[in-house]
Every structure is written in structure tokens, then in C-alpha cells.
Amino acid sequence: MTMRNQRLVRVESIERVASQIKRFHFAPIDDAALPCFSAGAHVIVTMRKGDAVYRNPYSLMSSPLDPRRYSISVLRVAESRGGSVHMHENVEVGEVLEISDPLNLFPIAHTARKHILIAGGIGITPFMAMLAQFRNDKSHFELHYAVRSPEDGAYFKALEAEGLPGVRLYRSDRGERIALNAILQNQRLGTHVYVCGPQRMIDWALETAKLEGWPDENVHSEHFSVPTPGNPFVVKLATSGKEIHVGEHQSILEALEQAGVDAPYLCRGGACGQCITRITNTEGGAVHHNDHYLTDEEKKEGDRIATCVSRMDGGCLTLDL
């Protein structure tokens, strides 16, 4: 059921691009070119720390027109399970990493007449690849990029120095805000808007677009969650009868994989819905949904779970696997 081909890449260079963000360039380990990708695509990086294996999705931010390397930007999230901290502190130039082939869940709408990109913080990464594509295609676009301060925002200073037409930068330390209502109000038919950033920014942008009368088909967003830590619990598999222990810092999917169960997944960030699995029973705990795929109603119903990011808080969960 694991549908994504894995490959090895060498870390070609590492550069600090903001106070908590590092950029990693990956090059192929042999002369074979890396598979081409479209702007908006991500790869999953496998990180091994002792016995623990983390697989996190990261947007490709390098130009889709350059097949020689892939680049990702990693925000160090101190309070998370350690995937990003591991990338920041342990991964060195020359090291060989395992990554998945690229997959695009956030593609450019190629029939669009105009593209409006709304980025917050680390959400700039897929848009860096889109900018390269738009500039090559001479597409009509606007980028609105909000950061806490120039030190916190990756590529902020570079974008500022470049002064590209269509790029607007916002510093919240100076009280600057993206005037999204005004931006969305005066757009001609055929415009598409893309949002990437913290969850509350995405919620705000989607709500604003709806209130401004935009159709859903023209509004795109991407946000990868990470599995949140919580009390350990037990997963029972209805078909095979297996009982699997899910640790405090583990996702259900990771525990399944550790136990040799080939469970479905694609993005590992709660965005694509591929890992959604039917729940047949829960005991002694509540399900915590952390994905962006199921609707609020579906989450309330509680008969399905995204195994990549959602979990139980103690107790026992029986899955239809």
C-alpha cells in the first residue's frame, strides 16, 4: 500500500536562512537526475534517530526548472517530537538521506488568468517554487508574504532586495497586515488564490474568500500538520487481530509501520486523506483529530481517523485493518 518510491540523496549544502529556519540542498547520489516535479510539490524526508523513525513532509522550494537539486526549508519546532530539531542539529553536509519521490497536493491552477499567493512564515516555501515557475512562464501573479520580523522570515530580505513587481511584504513587528478583503474584492474572473502558512492564517483566508463571494474552486491551501504527542494507547487491528502499542511521541501510522503493517499513506501531514482508516471501536479514551482532510461533521461522527497525525488520548482503538 506504500505508493511512494523512495530514493537516496546527498545533502549538498545547509544554510541558515532565518533565525529558526535552515535550507537544505539535496543532490542525487549518482549521475541520475532527480525526477522532475511541479511547483507546489513536497517530498517526505525519513529521519532516523536511534530506534525512532520520523517521516516528515517538506515542500520543495527550488525551481521546478532546475533538475539538478531539490531544496527544502525546515523550521525548527522545539516543542515537537524532534524531526525538525534532528534536521537542524544532527544532519550535516555530505550525509545521505532517504526521501520520497515528489508528490503535488498544492498544484498551480494552470488555467488561471492570475495567481494570488498568500504566505505566512514558513508557508513561503511552496511559493518560492511557484515564483520560479511564474517568472519563467511570465504569468500574472501577486505574492503577499507576512512575517513576524525580517529575522524570522525565510527569504524575506532577499525578496525585499529583489523588489519584484507583484511582491508585497508585511512585517507584523511593524503592525503591517495583509489587507485580504481589499485584495480579493477587485479581482477579475479567472483569478486563483493560494494560501500557505499557520492554520489560523489559512482559516482566516478561507473564511475571507468565502465572505467576499469567491467560489471554493478558486481557493487553494496547504498545511502540513505534525503528529502531536499524547498519552500512549493501544491500536487493535480488526482483521489480523494484532495489538500495537502507540508511544507518546509516535503516530498511529509510525507504530503500524514499526510493527510491519503496510498501511496506506501519501502526505503524512493530514492533508491528502489517503491514510483515512475506518474505526470499528474505541475504549477508554477520546479520539483527537489533527488532520485537515475530514470535515468537522465527519470528525464528530468519529468513525474514521487519519492515522498519520490523529491519535487517541489513552485507551484502545480498533481499526478496520
Binding site: 488555467t111 488561471a112 488568468r113 480579493l184 474584492q185 477587485n186 479581482q187 477579475r188 474572473l189 479567472g190 483569478t191 468565502k210 465572505l211 467576499e212 463571494g213 469567491w214 467560489p215 471554493d216 474552486e217 478558486n218
Partner: protein, 201 residues
């Protein structure tokens, strides 16, 4: 004679007012007016004032569609004799429209198809147009051999108005041409033409 399960066969999900849209454009023929009436039951009080109707006076049961629509208080009702003249006006309206404009199409399939095709030319996603089929089942058919379009097809098979071949009308649909595809029915056994049936009345 139709092959079931062809995926390109359009599905019309029904008219529903988008209460967040700042401007609405509704294209309807006389039969579609009933669907417009039904939609208005779900609309808020201000909806008619935000709505322009492009009325195509074809189809229907003889009742003057203008009389049906007038009492609802729409901002504009523009009336046209044919689908072509109505879509030509739609094209002009969409030239200056903003993203907060929502499009609705109801009536015969050729009317809905022409509206969707016009919408696509303006960068509107086909699935953001609200559609509801009412009235005649007549189809616009493109001959896959000579590419000629035959309008108002009610029978299957049908003679291509351009090259004269006898065509089986399939559910295979082209959004870009706004037409179902017609394929020569006696290609393998020339002259063996089954009985003509009124399948699309």
C-alpha cells in the same frame, strides 16, 4: 442504444443560491424558469437585487417566461430569442465581471453547455457554475468524422447535418465544444442502419 457509464456525461447538481456572491448571473430558457423559481425559495431577501437574468425565450410550455420572472424583482431581466444571442450577451457581461460573480444555468442541455463553455473561456471553473436541467432532452451533437455540429437532435441515430453520415449519439461529451459526440453507426456494415428512435424528446 446508449452506452451506460460514460464519465464525461455531464451531471447537473441543481440550482442553489450562493448567498455570499456579490453578483449573480442566471441564464435560463422558458423551461428553466421553474428551476429559478425553486431556487428563489432558498434565497435571502436581497438576492434578486444582486441578480441579472439572461432569459432565452426558447423551450417551455407556452407560458410567457417573462410573466413568471417579473414578480420576483430581479435587478435586470434581459430577453433573447436564441441560446447564441444570450451567450453572446453573457460573454460581454463576464468580460467585466469580478471573482464575486456567480453563474447559474438552467434549461436544455445545449443552453447549459453553451453557458459552461462561455464560462470556461473566462477562467471560471466548470464546477463552480450551478446547473439544473429542465425541459427538452434535445442534444447538440458533433460529428466525429466531419466535426460539423448538428443542433436540436432528438433522435438516435441521427443524420449529420453536414456530411450526411448516420450517427449514433453517444453520452461521450465535450465541454469545450459543448456537444455530445456522434459516431457513424454503419461503419462496419455500410447500409445496416437500425430504426430511428426519438430518444431525446
Amino acid at each position: 442504444m446508449l452506452v451506460a457509464g460514460i464519465k464525461s456525461r455531464p451531471v447537473y447538481r441543481g440550482l442553489r443560491p450562493d448567498l455570499f456572491a456579490k453578483q449573480n448571473i442566471v441564464v435560463t430558457d422558458a423551461a428553466g424558469c421553474e428551476a429559478v423559481l425553486d431556487m428563489m425559495k432558498l434565497a435571502d431577501e436581497g438576492f434578486p437585487a444582486r441578480t441579472t437574468i439572461l432569459l432565452c425565450r426558447t423551450g417551455g410550455n407556452g407560458k410567457d417566461p417573462q410573466d413568471v420572472l417579473n414578480p420576483l424583482g430581479f435587478a435586470n431581466i434581459w430577453s433573447f430569442p436564441t441560446v447564441e444571442t444570450a451567450t453572446s450577451r453573457l460573454n460581454a457581461a463576464l468580460n467585466t465581471a469580478l471573482m464575486s460573480t456567480r453563474l447559474y444555468a438552467t434549461g436544455s442541455e445545449p443552453l447549459i453547455g453553451s453557458v459552461i463553455r462561455t464560462a470556461l473561456e473566462h477562467g471560471i471553473a466548470h464546477n463552480s457554475v450551478f446547473t439544473e436541467h429542465r425541459g427538452s432532452l434535445k442534444r447538440r451533437v458533433q460529428c466525429v468524422h466531419c466535426k460539423g455540429l448538428t443542433e436540436d437532435v432528438t433522435t438516435n441515430p441521427v443524420k449529420c447535418a453536414h456530411c450526411g453520415l448516420t450517427l449514433i449519439v453517444r453520452d461521450h461529451y465535450s465541454r469545450r465544444y459543448a456537444a455530445f459526440q456522434g459516431v457513424r453507426i454503419d461503419a462496419e456494415a455500410p447500409g445496416e442502419i437500425p430504426e430511428t428512435k426519438a430518444e431525446f424528446q
